[in-house]
């Protein structure tokens, strides 16, 4: 009995960790026909400064491994695996970019870009990452809010 109460408590904490109140849970994201996600994942406006931190953090977005952002050239070594993000907000609307962040594989068939807000279920996923997402819902919104500043 005690164990089951403990388990229930743990489960609630885990649920809170993956989907806080008012958040769209990773499995519940609704895409439009272009792969875009029109609705905010949290309803809380993104924080561009935290978005930049999330992009730099190699255990979070790690965006610079593959993308150039000229406005952040103080961050060393931008990779060229993916397209430059300069002016991305002039090329794509907010919903489309949110869709790419949530699951780029949904937008671009065969892309190497990891899905940032999809529970990890692929073969051999390390135990500690199983079922987790690379970014939280708010981190997606934060990164998006920074990318929205990249206009040409």
């Amino acid at each position: 009995m005690k164990n089951s109460i403990l388990l229930t408590a743990c489960a609630s904490v885990a649920m809170m960790a993956t989907a806080a109140l008012g958040e769209v849970a990773p499995g519940d994201v609704v895409f439009d026909d272009n792969g875009g996600v029109p609705v905010s994942l949290t309803g809380v406006p993104g924080d561009p400064a935290n978005g930049q931190k999330t992009m730099i953090n190699r255990k979070k977005g790690n965006c610079f491994a593959c993308h150039v952002v000229s406005a952040m050239s103080d961050v060393p070594f931008h990779g060229l695996v993916g397209p430059s993000l300069d002016g991305v907000a002039s090329r794509y609307d907010e919903a489309f970019i949110r869709g790419i962040l949530v699951n780029a594989k949904h937008t671009f068939d065969g892309t190497i870009m990891p899905a940032m807000y999809v529970p990890a279920t692929l073969p051999r996923t390390m135990k500690k990452f199983q079922g987790t997402t690379i970014l939280s819902a708010q981190e997606v919104e934060d990164v998006l809010s920074y990318l929205e500043t990249l206009k040409e």
Partner: protein, 286 residues
């Protein structure tokens, strides 16, 4: 830079309408001759017919000049220190049988000329796929009655380096049919499966994006003709299967066990992607 952005945008456009073929990597910016102590090493060749890309390149061709030069002279190659230790071990008695490697192999390490070019291969006596490490540890346990050397550690990597060195410049030609056909297919499947939280396969980087800058590095084709590899990053010789382990961890995937059946199958498959390139191990990389 503008061209890259433009081509990426065009590629994106194709992807949107769903007609994009998978991306293919880019050749090295400049092909240089790889000559080590007077021996010419084939570092660029036509890809084997089982592959979907036109040409194969040694990882050496993708490295920066300051890394490349370290491999051109054995006195500059820091991996040779572990090879020198292995040369000593070759002549040192170990184990209950009172033998050294040299007790049986009286011709010295030179007896193994050519072997690295055809490994991994099927060992009919043991009914198993054998890598160089397996041959060394078979000798140590069965003939010398000594302990097997642990996988991925300096003694074993150094001895693999010493024996691979005997095949310097020989053309890799591993068999992929006959008794290894199923293992080769298994290795092929591991190479192409998307795995880990990052959802990438070996091919995502080493087939679709070789020659492309990822952070400060240029992605190579993941060729194994330069193994064991002295990495400047960790300052020791690294085995093929330990490198696989590092790659899988980067993908947030649970690695297979170095020396185990899955990585053996993968080592065979990846080796076959280098059929036609010259053996150059121990090499120097980032």
């Amino acid at each position: 830079m503008k061209n890259i952005t433009l081509s990426a945008v065009i590629a994106t456009g194709f992807a949107l309408v769903g007609t994009a073929a998978l991306a293919e990597g880019q050749p090295p910016a400049e092909i240089k001759p790889l000559v080590i102590d007077g021996i010419n090493i084939v570092a660029e060749a036509q890809a084997p017919s089982h592959m979907d890309i036109p040409a194969i390149y040694s990882g050496w061709e993708f490295r920066a000049e300051e890394t490349q030069v370290l491999q051109l002279d054995d006195f500059d190659n820091p991996g040779m220190l572990e090879v020198d230790a292995a040369r000593e071990a070759f002549n040192t008695v170990d184990g209950a049988a009172g033998k050294s490697c040299a007790s049986c192999h009286e011709g010295g390490p030179e007896e193994f000329k050519g072997l690295a070019a055809v490994l991994p291969r099927w060992n009919p006596d043991q009914n198993a796929l054998y890598t160089m490490e397996d041959y060394i540890n078979y000798c140590r346990t069965a003939r010398m009655q000594a302990e097997a050397w642990p996988w991925g550690k300096t003694q074993l990597n150094g001895m693999v380096g010493l024996l691979n060195l005997q095949s310097r410049g020989e053309i890799r030609n591993v068999a992929i049919d006959g008794p290894v056909a199923d293992l080769w297919q298994q290795g092929h499947d591991i190479y192409y499966v998307k795995q880990g939280q990052l959802g990438m396969s070996c091919s995502s980087c080493h087939e679709e994006n070789y020659g492309v800058r990822i952070r400060a590095e240029i992605l190579s084709q993941g060729q194994t003709t330069g193994f064991p590899v002295y990495r400047l990053k960790n300052a020791h010789l690294n085995s093929v299967e330990n490198r696989f382990k590092g790659c899988m961890k980067n993908m947030r995937a649970e690695p297979y066990k170095p020396g185990g059946p899955e990585f053996h199958a993968l080592e065979l498959y990846v080796a076959s992607r280098g059929n036609g390139l010259g053996i150059e191990g121990p090499s120097v990389r980032n």
